[in-house]
Amino acid sequence: MRHRPRSLCKILPIGQPLRPPPATVNTLSLAFGEAWAMIARADPKLLEIVALSLRVSLSAVVVATLLALPFGAALAVARFRGRDALVVVLNALLGLPAVVVGLAVYLLLSRAGPLGALGILFTPAAMVIAQAVLIFPLIAALARQSVADAWREYAEQLHSLGAGPLASAFALLHDLRFSLVTIVLAAFGRAIAEVGAVMIVGGNIDGFTRVMTTAIALETSKGDLPLALGLGLVLLAIVLALNVGAHLMKERAQRHHG
């Protein structure tokens, strides 16, 4: 029975601390050490990768937010045929695998594709587009939900004042701004932690389109687990810091605004 299938964690390198060879027992502590050393000396390579990750994902979030918030709000407020179907589709898109988004954007931006003339495949712009497409449904669906909930409370008053759908949608978005920040941050978290789509459309080009997640994938491929985990810790720290910030802001705002 030597060849019976082993459990998944045996195949994943993460599971290694259970194995006898001492070289891998301290993978985690090595990773912490290496990560800390890289951060402490402000490793330029690390900074470059982190900066590009932030730039790409923030751009994607800005683009997606500007489109998805009004879209989600309009979907909550406006009445038209096919609205329910659209909501169902939007919610289904939440489960869209990043790789599929990456593939679709790749085929779109490829020289042989409809937008090939732009020549932006394998550039940060392509990554921004892929991430924006990826998180658009997330922002739109969650915004629609929270606007729809608020709409039940506000609808009569806003109708009474004579506010049209557009004015109503923007009033609701403004009123919900602190919840929306949380939604947008969740979207940012998904964008910056995503690897499949940016790998395909960015190409993981060293110094040009290599971001934290694709670098992690590459270092894992090379068996350089400490460096990969180190980068992972940096990624985690960034996302954590942003969420703590958002949480504090929301708390304060809620105390302030009721």
Binding site: H3, R6, K10, I11, L12, P13, G15, Q16, R19, P21, A23, T24, R55, V56, L58, S59, V62, S110, R111, A112, G113, G116, L118, G119, I120, L121, F122, T123, P124, A125, V128, R177, V181, G203, N204, I205, D206, F208, T209, L218, T220, S221, K222, G223, D224, L225, M249, R252, A253, H256
Partner: protein, 276 residues
């Protein structure tokens, strides 16, 4: 209200900070090279590309994929140059008119890697004998199964050994991972399995666990790399001049010396093969 204004100011500042990422199109004087994971992950490009860029001012952006995918990227016109290792596929690529001006650049070799204890007794200098032994012992073997050059070579060796691993061992000792060289090595390392790898990736691979080289030095395990210009007649946007400069440099005495000078732990990974 003060709080709102501050929040919106922060958002606006963020938006401005991101703006520079948007117009990042292609820089001047750069080419895109579709290549294989083995060249990228072995660290060869990190060694030789800066030399080329210093000399010519042309930046080389490498997209590392399996050979099959790299050729596909070339076919779609998404790269200027392909740099791969699967001679039959390369020749087909040129014959179909997708590429022109194919040149031999270098070769490295494959190695059969396996557990230090070598339970299948596969060690030696004969790859077919080694694979036969593994199949006979039904010892775990990890295949990339990703249509890469390495995968193609592995299937070729099994065929020469008279073994059909998919028919005989799929689901038992023959494990198809569908992944790149590095992930496949990680899998082999954690399963203590045999695996065919290119020497470059193996040498730069750090998570070796209990693995070592079992078979090497068989002439059939030489792995030649070629470089091909994506056909400008098919894809007018191909940066022909810069791409040709890169190809010329690779096969020049200077480029060949650069390739030969790349070593890991004192071991040379790639051997020049250009004919002038």
């Amino acid at each position: 209200m003060a709080l709102n204004r501050r929040a919106f100011a922060a958002l606006a500042a963020l938006a401005l900070a991101c703006a520079p990422a948007l117009p990042l199109g292609a820089q001047d004087k750069s080419i895109v090279v579709a290549s294989t994971t083995s060249t990228e992950q072995s660290g060869l490009f990190g060694h030789i590309l800066p030399m080329f860029t210093r000399k010519t001012g042309i930046a080389v952006k490498v997209v590392a994929l399996g050979t099959g995918q790299a050729l596909d990227v070339g076919r779609r016109g998404d790269a200027d140059v392909v740099f791969v290792h699967d001679r039959p596929a390369e020749e087909k690529f040129v014959a179909e008119g997708y590429g022109v001006d194919r040149r031999d650049v270098m070769y490295n070799d494959f190695v059969l890697v396996g557990p230090k204890s070598d339970p299948a007794k596969a060690a030696g200098k004969d790859i077919t004998a080694g694979l036969k032994a593994i199949a006979a012992a039904k010892a775990p073997f990890v295949s990339r199964a990703d249509k890469s050059g390495t995968h193609a070579a592995e299937l070729r060796y099994f065929k020469q050994a008279g073994v059909d691993p998919v028919a005989e061992g799929k689901g038992t000792w023959y494990r198809e991972t569908g992944s790149g060289m590095g992930p496949a090595l990680n899998t082999a390392s954690s399963m203590n399995a045999y695996i065919l790898a290119d020497r470059g990736t193996w040498l730069s691979f750090r998570n070796r666990g209990e693995l070592r080289i079992v078979v090497e030095g068989d002439k059939r395990m030489f792995n030649p790399y070629g470089v091909i210009l994506v056909n400008p007649a098919k894809h007018a946007h191909v940066k022909q001049a810069e791409a040709r400069a890169f190809m010329d440099w690779l096969v020049s005495a200077e480029g060949q010396a650069a390739i030969a000078s790349y070593k890991i732990g004192g071991e040379q990974l790639f051997f020049p093969e250009a004919k002038g």
